[in-house]
């Protein structure tokens, strides 16, 4: 064992847990993307249930890891300012996967069906959302492992993707309300599209937070 590993055992433990957390976080997003594509191709059913189960498990594991990191941080594993930054970042990341899980939960519980003319836009929305989250995941890894430079670029990408997602979401909502569907159906689809669209908004908030943390760390 290296001397630094011995001296900073607590920090190394937090470091390992955070890396693990980010891996599970990304698995949640990847599960959402796969589950949604399965839903768009085959409708709600066993396959979507499988992905929902996977995302649910990953989200629970992430929650456990987050709590483990937080309890170690409360035991003063890092300096106060780094401690606060890590805790707030973790909580912000967590909100994103909670929302991702809730999208699939809605599909499963409501046995949701979407209109054929929605499929293309929904596929675009989910791909863009996953791409934004991928950039966010990378930015998080860079922050933790010491390469501040790429963070600004990745944050910009998340911001651009969020704008594109907003356009797709707005276009979908307009089409939903311009259609001949009954009001209850319109409201159900609106809720679903809004829920899905919020993921990129939340990702943008986390990205902004990461950017501030990376700037704050500089003297």
């Amino acid at each position: 064992m290296k001397l630094a590993d011995l001296l900073f055992r607590e920090q190394r433990e937090v470091e390992a847990r955070l890396a693990e957390y980010l891996d599970h976080w990304w698995s949640c997003i990847d599960g959402l993307r796969a589950g949604m594509h399965s839903f768009l191709e085959e409708g709600s059913g066993e396959q979507v249930d499988f992905y929902y189960g996977r995302v649910d498990r990953e989200e629970s594991t992430s929650d456990g890891l987050r709590r483990a990191v937080e309890s170690r941080l409360f035991a003063k594993a890092l300096l106060p300012e780094a401690r606060g930054d890590i805790m707030r970042t973790l909580e912000a990341f967590d909100v994103v996967i909670n929302r991702a899980e809730s999208v699939l939960r809605q599909v499963v519980i409501e046995r949701l069906q979407v209109e054929p003319w929605m499929l293309q836009d929904l596929a675009r929305l989910i791909d863009q959302t996953a791409e934004g989250c991928r950039c966010l995941h990378q930015a998080g890894c860079h922050l933790l492992h010491g390469r501040d430079q790429p963070i600004a670029g990745l944050v910009r990408q998340v911001d651009e993707i969020e704008s594109r997602c907003d356009h797709v979401e707005d276009a979908l909502l307009e089409r939903i309300f311009a259609s001949d569907l009954d009001l209850a159906r319109k409201l159900q689809l609106k809720d679903f599209v809004r829920r899905l669209g919020t993921i990129s908004d939340l990702a943008e908030e986390v990205a902004d937070h990461l950017h501030i943390v990376s700037i704050k760390r500089r003297v």
């Binding site: 470091e15 003063k76 890092l78 300096l79 300012e81 780094a82 890590i86 010491g146 760390r217 003297v219």
Partner: protein, 313 residues
């Protein structure tokens, strides 16, 4: 023989209890070091600093006036009481100023004072916060550039800051011993009660004991005060304080570590463009700066007067 050693030991103990916080307050408060480890490191470094570089200050203070066993005891006792009173008043204190004030008070009563040595001491008192301010203002951007260039991640940055704070804390302890041991030891040497080595061991040992036994509360207070700065700023503040105090150890004038810390905090604040440099706090420090030697001198003169009263029948 007993009074000077006990009073000197008491003074050293109070000094250690107060000033250890200036070296390790931040490290302890932020949880990077246990209180016990920090005080142990501080105590060891204080003794090492006192033994290796404490002699110059002992010569300067010892040269201000000649001492007997009684006057040595009265000097240490007056300084210790002054320090306690000023602490109770909540004013920032300088043990060095209290000791010099006490030496002067007795020197005045005996009508034998070496003012040449005093000039050097007073100039250094003014230079302490000013020097620490300038050093901190210079070190902050220099070290900051280096720190940014390293582009460390959150963990490695945290580890670098922790190691840095422990290293500068140790250096602060060393500088504290080298500079402030004279406050305790000078009168013992000047009165012929101890050899320089014995006096240094008594001084260094008592400061170390103060750090080990009674510094927890002050360390917590200073730590939380400094942690309002970020860890990097705290590192620069402790480094600037230690460098300043160490330089004065070479010059041979005991100075206040607390005033050096305040100077360094203001220096960092000015560089960072903070609007939070508290004028009221600065006014209190100036007040403490003026009052401490004056009270020390008045008290020692009064004690000298009382102990020399004779009944005339």
């Amino acid at each position: 023989m007993v009074l000077p050693v006990v009073a000197g030991g008491f003074l050293g103990w109070a000094l250690g209890a107060n000033d250890a916080a200036n070296c390790f307050g931040t490290a302890v408060r932020s949880g990077m070091l246990r209180f016990r480890t920090a005080t142990l490191l501080c105590a060891v470094m204080v003794v090492v600093g006192a033994l290796l570089e404490g002699h110059a200050g002992i010569e300067t203070l010892g040269g201000l006036t000649s001492q007997t066993a009684l006057t040595a005891g009265l000097t240490a006792l007056s300084a210790a009481i002054t320090v306690t009173v000023m602490t109770l008043l909540g004013l920032p204190i300088s043990t060095s100023q209290a000791v010099v004030g006490a030496i002067l008070g007795i020197g005045l009563m005996q009508r034998q004072l070496n003012l040449e040595g005093l000039e050097k001491v007073v100039v250094c008192w003014v230079g302490t916060p000013l020097g620490a301010l300038l050093l901190a203002a210079a070190l902050y951007p220099l070290l900051g550039r280096l720190y940014n260039r390293l582009d460390l991640g959150v963990y490695r940055q945290d580890e670098a800051l922790r190691i840095g704070l422990i290293a500068v804390g140790c250096y602060g302890g060393y500088a504290l011993g080298a500079n402030n041991v004279a406050n305790v030891s000078a009168v013992l040497v000047a009165s012929g009660l101890s050899t320089p080595l014995e006096a240094t061991l008594i001084g260094g040992g008592s400061i170390a004991l103060g750090a080990l036994t009674f510094s927890r509360r002050v360390m917590a207070t200073v730590g939380s005060g400094v942690v309002k700065l970020d860890a990097f700023s705290a590192l620069v503040v402790v480094l600037a304080e230690a460098l300043t105090v160490h330089v004065y150890a070479w010059v041979g004038v005991p100075v206040s570590t607390s005033q050096a810390v305040v100077g360094a905090v203001v220096g960092v604040g000015l560089v960072r463009g903070l609007r939070s440099v508290r004028l009221r706090r600065l006014r209190n420090i100036a007040l403490g700066w003026l009052l401490t030697p004056a009270i020390g001198a008045a008290l020692s003169a009064a004690l000298y007067f009382v102990t020399h009263l004779r009944y005339v029948g």
